[in-house]
Symmetry: D2
Subunit: 356 residues, 4 copies
């Protein structure tokens, strides 16, 4: 089977580089074109990043290094099977619909996450929401825009999914200790801001977590034109700490019914995720790893579990404040499942479901 | 007035050095003797710390540098007016009662914090509890042991006090992002554990926060033999981050009655603290500073406010999960108000109240 | 005596804020006007920096907070006695000559450092070079431009000065471990670049150190139109590390004649600096502090010595490779003596020498 | 071919864990016994490290997790083919000769590095020195002790070897910026010491680098009873920075004859290493990688090159101070080639050379 041909928008930024890495040697998709800001158009990808511009530890794949960067507005999407988008939200608002007129667009940008006809896809949690993209035909799209959630929402939603399924969830309070890579690198988080420090504020992040969690865990069925958000109340506090990769989150949950800690641990440990996402190329052996050591999860030790596609959960305890309260700590890889690899997973889901 | 003569136990460790600093040029107390582990006994304080052993940026005060370190078991407490104690809990259990037979002991150790006849003193919050130390006469003490709270409890209890007074508090959830200095330095937190990392666990810390907060905010009246803990429910998650000094805490509070954010901000901003603690030498201009900038408080920028004696509060928002919920972020200096300077403040309170 | 009235260019950046701090309560100078990029023009200084824009731990001085930011091109320099400049080199090339037509300009920018009629002033080392500014009259300046050296050169030149005076210096090799604050904050050094990392390259920095060291330590006498650089050979390697403030430098020096380590230590310890700089308001008690502890100097512990105006030197040893070789480690405050406070010191020198 | 059976001393520390990782799935050696301090004796390896004691990101290999920890003094070495030793120098002085009476011991400890009949083995540089171990028969050893160099010496000696071969080397000055992992973890480097800081001193390290570099690059021929050290002069300054893994070193070299930078780059790039070490299981594709980007090597990006077995070299420039001077920056993995994997490489060399 020939691989599907992909174009990548926003290829030179940190998020774009992570797409290049995530697509290297992918069994279904081949990156055949790269686009970035016009000032780099016409240069080979490898040359544009030669002087200190490539930030990953692995080398640039040779096949990508030789691709010539295109101006994104000059790209004809009909020459490709699908697009990945790693651009900022404001750029996404222009570029993504333009591409979606012809082909599916899998995106890390927030621009379309909150539109009614756009599912917010985290395949192990809500792979069944994918069909909502068909509603975008009303926009005149032959393709569609399929965004992934904010990287802080991702691990939270994964950890809540088995609790919602087994016990119900009334409410959740979360404090995030987020890595700096989530902010990219140009400029990203200045070292002056996080060395010997905590930033207790990330613009718009808390609202994203609160809205997205309810949408991801909401319900949708074929024929409906929007997702019915989950009714749980969500309260988020988002902070930035001196960690390179891997978001840590302290979570307190009010369950729908009493449950022992053993029952909760079993819910995490036995969770298989949505049936649509169990056999995709990027599916990890387990979506949730429950750690027993009292001092885990830690971002540096646990972020790469199953290639950064698993959410590590530990420190499971009762919460004395909430009704049927339990609390735990999770670590999730913000630039793997939470970004490029998460978007590739959605594209895999689309392919497996016949929507690509 | 001649200054009261103080002896310091545990003088060479990081906490001990902070006592040396806190007592330098103190208007009421003079550090006239220093004790430390027997292997250093007989050496001058300055010599014992000459080779990489003194960790503060200011120099060792000359008067202290020339003091000869004593074996703590050889110290006759009756030669002094008061003692400060910066030893570990297990050592405190032996040394502190021995000294308290003769003189008051102001301590950062946790050894006696949970005993019935021992108040847990944070003067702006519960200076009125001091009289409970009289109950220790039953132990045969001419003096008493007066411990301060755990450094993570300190900022939390200060921030809760005005809310308890004005609205009542039903429950509180807190996540701490704690500095490494709280763990001392021998060995303290290994760099390998916190560089590019978060430690999601600090042994026994969460239990201390939960118990101590209720005791500090509890009630006591002359004649009673123990503190009646406050009824609020407390849920704590304690983490360690790569910050040198200053604990950051994200706090969600369920108030006793509805209150607008403006009313809560006013409660913080107008709070004067307990009447007993308003004019002590170490009393800051305000116990709580309310910050308006959206990205404050930050530990590096705010920990030193009013000499590390103030708690900085910011990011006041409604909490959607809790009944009458509000949430905020605080920064408190863990080795100033939360340690040596906090213990000196208690000694000042004792002097002002005629108990020294 | 009325204070001299100063205008500050580049007032809102990190370097500009350090000037605001350095001039707060200065005995000779008063900051009466602030200028910054046109987009902030018309706003009060305090308002422009209210939302996360002020990075120092002390508060903005009230008198400065209420100043209205001017567009620098609209500033009439003849309304002031002197200017301080904290702008980038390219902006300096336009703004500084414009101001110098009317008044002296004391600058941290590199734009004019290498011009023949411009001294590179580090008062304790070459205060006597100040008179060279008179040569700028040929440019039609009623004032002059007086830049200070690069912050990495500063500590090196201070430490070399007593060696040049007493033994002569043939050559110097230096490796710098530089703090991130030297790069400013917009964007400054990204956290992704220095967490768990060393950057082994800082653009143009090594050339600056090599050229500036020789110019600062060179000779000039009244009547001459340029500085004769010192003949020493200089080899610099500049790196960036995860330190907020304070440059550490490892230095190996080939002296002009054999000298014992005791003699070298005495040369450092007895050095008084240039006679012109001994009694200025910002002159520290000693320009060089020689530390005996084997593990000093350290940037966090030693950068603030004498208000950041002293260079701390330690680890004095023989160097087995160089002729008459000695080696040592120094720490110098890159944003105090190495930036705003260093420029204020030059202005003090100018005032004391009748050139202001 | 059955694998050789290895016992590991010091198995529970950080260095020991790195041996466990390095030997996992090794084609020639099998770890069949683990020894550690007596207090852990009798516990299974996996249990002893279950609660926060295992520091690597990969899981403990199952075969090792089930091994029962032995008291090292109770181990009968004659039951094994070889030993690896990750103990501290003082313990090594007792344990290693005891084992060497029966079997070869490959060690990261410094205890025997400076003995005349002990080669200091870095196979790509001096694999030919291995035969010197035969001289240890005079100690009554049926085996021998074969230590590897200090981790800071390793990268330096690798980078100097091609220069010695092609141009000769007169002298070298090096400043190291060392990672914290080199100090182990119990207690290792306290976070308080390196956050926002540089430690300019590591006890005994500079002397080790100076002596070991000359011994490794020295000459030995069969029949001789000791290594003739290389005559180059070496001057080292060793510092510690906030990096987890990977030592960065800035190096200035005085070559034996003039050479262009292109010639030096070619010497690095073409270097194959000693013939004895070209086909061992752990031999990387290249021992030296020359990087062209101006801001490389960086420890975080380059330490893992070729599994941590390569030395990355960049920033090649002329050095204006030294005769025939060149300078460069290198990064070398201190706990891979510089520790456990380096010792395994020596064991591979011994096996290939018939000395095992």
């Amino acid at each position: 089977m020939a691989k599907l041909r992909a174009v990548l928008f926003g290829a030179t930024g940190l998020a774009g580089q992570q797409f290049v890495s995530a697509l290297s040697a992918h069994p279904w998709f081949e990156l055949v074109a790269v686009a970035a800001s016009p000032r780099n158009a016409g240069r080979r990808y490898g040359e544009a990043l030669a002087e200190g511009g490539w930030f990953l530890t692995e080398a640039i794949p040779a096949a990508v290094a030789s691709l010539v960067l295109a101006d994104p507005l000059s790209v004809d999407p009909s020459g490709f099977d699908l697009a990945f988008s790693a651009v900022e939200a404001d750029v996404a608002r222009e570029l993504e619909p333009r591409a979606a007129r012809a082909i599916p667009v899998f995106s890390t940008a927030s621009a379309f996450r909150y539109e009614k006809d756009v599912p917010l896809l985290l395949p192990p949690v809500n792979g069944g929401h994918l069909g909502l993209v068909r509603a975008q035909a009303a926009r005149g799209f032959a393709g569609y825009v399929a965004p992934i959630p904010n990287c802080t929402t991702t691990g939270l939603a994964v950890s809540l999914a088995p609790l919602v399924e087994r016990f119900g969830v009334q409410a959740v309070l979360v404090t995030s200790l987020q890595a700096v890579s989530g902010a990219g690198r140009s400029p990203g988080v200045p070292a002056l801001d996080v060395l010997d420090n905590v930033l207790p504020f990330i613009a718009k992040e808390e609202g994203k977590v609160e809205v997205e969690t309810r949408k991801i865990l909401g319900t949708w069925a074929p024929g409906r034109t929007e997702v019915q958000p989950h009714a749980m109340r969500v309260s988020a506090t988002c902070t930035r700490v001196a960690v390179l990769e891997g978001h840590t989150e302290t979570v307190s949950v009010s369950l729908g019914r009493p449950a022992s800690l053993d029952e909760v641990a079993a819910a995490f440990g036995e969770w298989k995720g949505d049936a649509t996402a169990r056999d995709l190329p990027s599916t990890p052996p387990r979506w949730i790893e429950v750690l027993q050591a009292p001092d885990r999860p830690q971002p540096r030790l646990d972020r790469e579990t199953h290639g950064g596609m698993a959410t590590s959960v530990g420190r499971l305890r009762e919460d004395a404040v909430l009704a049927n309260g339990v609390k735990f700590v999770l670590v999730s890889h913000n630039t793997k499942l939470g970004a490029a690899k998460g978007a590739v997973l959605v594209a895999e889901l689309a392919k497996a479901q016949g929507l690509l």
